[in-house]
Symmetry: C2
Subunit: 206 residues, 2 copies
């Protein structure tokens, strides 16, 4: 990320952009607010006016990550002809996000506990998870059982989250000879069977 | 882990035991071969005769982790009345292993790339994965399509791996009010639908 001039007032977002780039270049442990300030061409003091410390910066990076993640999910789910298509698009978008932003993905999901103390991160994470939950609720449409909707959401989340981790950690490399992109698509293509279709008790509970 | 006397010849396994305990107390980054030597009451030099460096020790810990993991899977799968029961037992054992040995779990699956250079770790990991694959192959029994067996195995692996990570990273804590153990069981209970039962082309390809 080259030093880019910024307009008065958006130093915070310039630092976040630089932070996201630095994160993928190295690792969250090696990020330095001082170095980011240099990247965007301001003094360390100016940077510290926006982020009290490195934890505050990482928290803001994770929050931005959740907003981008949620936006990609919304885009993936939009205007799909049917549930099968939107389910596939949502799963592929999840895994694609993890593969394109491995360090950010680990940061977001590893630091989630911070959501309880940082309101901005809490809101961004909650909105992203709400989106995942709603997509599952839509799928479980015929069911009025909220527990079943939740379980289906967690199961579907586990599939894409688990596959993301297996990919990031190189575990699926052992299936050399397979085209990884095709493997992901083929595995996700089995997932429609995850749709919650448990028979409801007669009469339901409306 | 208190210092335990060891018999001549098993210093290596004493160091591994001490290493596994230290791993869960702190983190793989903080493990020191020197401290482990103190734990078991030998000189650092004696410890270095068994492990060239910290990486060699971590590799041995991961290998031991894969052996224990595979043994638990074998036990879980043994003598179950039907596929539904063995599938459930296998999934619960996977997640249970991750929850009881979080640092070891992260080490094993994070360091998998090392399997290519450390033969002991490579063998242990391959044996564990082979077990997972065979369990899925057994489930997909009616199918003669090896790609479908592989896809089913990866899908099922993703479910338990993803749920393990979500649990370790505290992500499922947001569903406060739910009993986590029951939630895991209930989510896995949806997974039987993952069984590979795609209709095969007439005549198959035997």
């Amino acid at each position: 990320m080259s030093a880019k001039p910024y307009h008065h007032g958006n130093l915070r977002s310039a630092l976040i952009e630089a932070g996201l780039a630095a994160l993928e270049r190295s690792d969250s442990k090696d990020i330095s607010l001082r170095a980011l300030a240099r990247d965007v061409g301001v003094s360390a003091n100016a940077a510290y006016r926006h982020f009290e410390d490195k934890d505050a910066l990482l928290s803001a990076l994770a929050a931005e990550g959740f907003r981008r993640f949620a936006a990609q999910q919304t885009e993936a789910l939009a205007a799909k002809p049917d549930l099968t298509a939107s389910r596939k698009a949502s799963g592929l978008a999840y895994i694609d996000f993890a593969r394109k932003n491995p360090a950010l993905f680990r940061l977001m999901f590893g630091q989630f506990l911070q959501a309880k103390t940082d309101p901005e991160l809490g809101l961004a994470a909650a909105a992203a998870f709400q989106g995942l939950l709603e997509a599952s609720a839509q799928e479980a449409g015929t069911s009025s059982d909220p527990d079943l909707v939740l379980r289906t959401a967690i199961l579907r989340w586990s599939v894409v989250h688990g596959m993301s981790h297996l990919l990031l950690d190189g575990q699926l490399d052992v299936f050399a000879g397979h085209n990884i992109d095709k493997l992901i698509e083929d595995v996700l293509a089995l997932a429609p069977r995850l749709t919650a279709t448990e028979p409801e008790p007669a009469g339901g509970r409306s």
